[in-house]
Amino acid sequence: MRLRPFALAEPESVPEAVEILARLEGETRIIAGGTALVPTMRLGLATPDRLVSLHRIPGLSQIRMDKGTLEIGAMSSLAALARHDAVRSRWPLLAEAAGRVATPAIRSIATLGGNLCYAEAASDPAPALLCLDTRVRVADSVGERVVPIGEFFTGFYDTAVAPNEILTGVSVPAAPAGARSGYVKFCPRSAEDKPLIGVAALLVLDAAKRVGEIRIALGGAAPTPMRARRAEAAVKGRELSDAVTRDAAEAAAAEAEPLSDLMGSVDYRREMIRVWVRRLLLSLGSGS
């Protein structure tokens, strides 16, 4: 079964791409890796007249360091992120989350920019990026603006990227010194599925083993990926005791606003948030 015919533009620069976006008529979609958009089109849920592919724009698939900040081009594949030496050593949380998306033959072509713009609530990379205080770079015909990741996801499958804009990349600041981090995802059906819920956390223990810096983020726990601020407050300044991890897990389950779908009910999602937040914090507390 073929895709419904569409016109294809393959601009070779960001200015050319945004110019095409500004002038085209009919339903226009940007295509990055296509791993989300193509199935959506095949199912008839998207019927674009035109696609603007970003694959010929040089530099958009670059991953590089700039004075300690990680600069990731929007077209970088999740596989490239997961195997990148500097990402693995200095931002292991991001490498781990990118390497947990779907399967090898999807990660090789799926892009970080595409993952963010698709805005799946149960995205694997999104909770990691939320914990890493990522800044998202967005360009239009006037220039570039920066959106903090906390303001990027605006609703169910919706983002701060306007129809005339292109997400060009993200900037990830250096993680705090001595940070421990981890990402866990719970897949009740198959391991390559999107998670029912995913939990990312990054924390720094002080000399007295108390939690200094703490960031916890959830996927699949609300209409958008979210920071679990009340769970963070429950552990900040405390030792990661059994009781404290329970408090944090309760807080996360309470502040989540999960949706009910074929994968799981609201109650089941809350229960799994409770279980997996606690498991992750316990494992980070024990240093494993």
Binding site: M1, R2, L3, R4, P5, F6, A7, L8, E10, I31, G33, G34, T35, V38, P39, R42, L43, L51, S53, H55, A79, A102, T103, P104, A105, I106, S108, I109, A191, E192
Partner: protein, 153 residues
């Protein structure tokens, strides 16, 4: 129509293709290379897996225009000089093929793994084949075959 130049199974390929065709459409309907199968069309089943610059990708999800200047290997390109790839031999020996519909995707996913990691553990093999669905053999013989090929058995 879009004009494409790329390398297909170690040979140069120049062809014109409609803009809305995927790589799978081009392989099967444009080039009559029917070894790559159309399964789900949504990137879930894995039988359309090919190698693009050595990495496994789902050909049903990739627009054909992405091939420009790149290197593609399909199941037809796995053998060299008439000799089957050792994975193909190992699949036959282990009985890792029943109906055969998933086999092209299994072989190419396994080829990508062994090129990157010549001595994989069973866990590595399972991870590499994740997303390649088989409804006949139950996977055990497929995993055995990949491990046997890696071990030179």
């Amino acid at each position: 129509m879009i004009a494409l130049d790329f390398t297909l199974n170690a040979r140069p390929c120049r062809i014109e293709v409609p803009a809305h065709w995927t790589v799978l459409d081009l392989l099967r309907d444009g080039l009559a290379l029917n070894g790559t199968k159309y399964g789900c069309g949504e990137g879930v089943c894995g039988t359309c897996t090919i190698l693009l610059d050595g990495e496994p990708v789902r050909s049903c999800l990739v627009l054909a225009s992405r091939l420009r200047g790149r290197t593609v290997v399909t199941v037809e390109g796995l053998a060299s000089d008439g000799e089957p790839d050792r994975l193909q031999t190992a699949f036959a020996r282990a009985g890792a093929v029943q109906c055969g519909f998933c086999t092209p995707g299994m072989l190419l996913s396994a080829r990508a793994l062994l090129t990157e990691n010549p001595s994989p553990t069973e866990h590595d093999v399972r991870e590499a084949l994740a997303g390649n669905l088989c409804r006949c053999t139950g996977y055990s013989k497929i995993i055995e075959a990949v491990l046997a090929a890696a071990a030179g058995r």
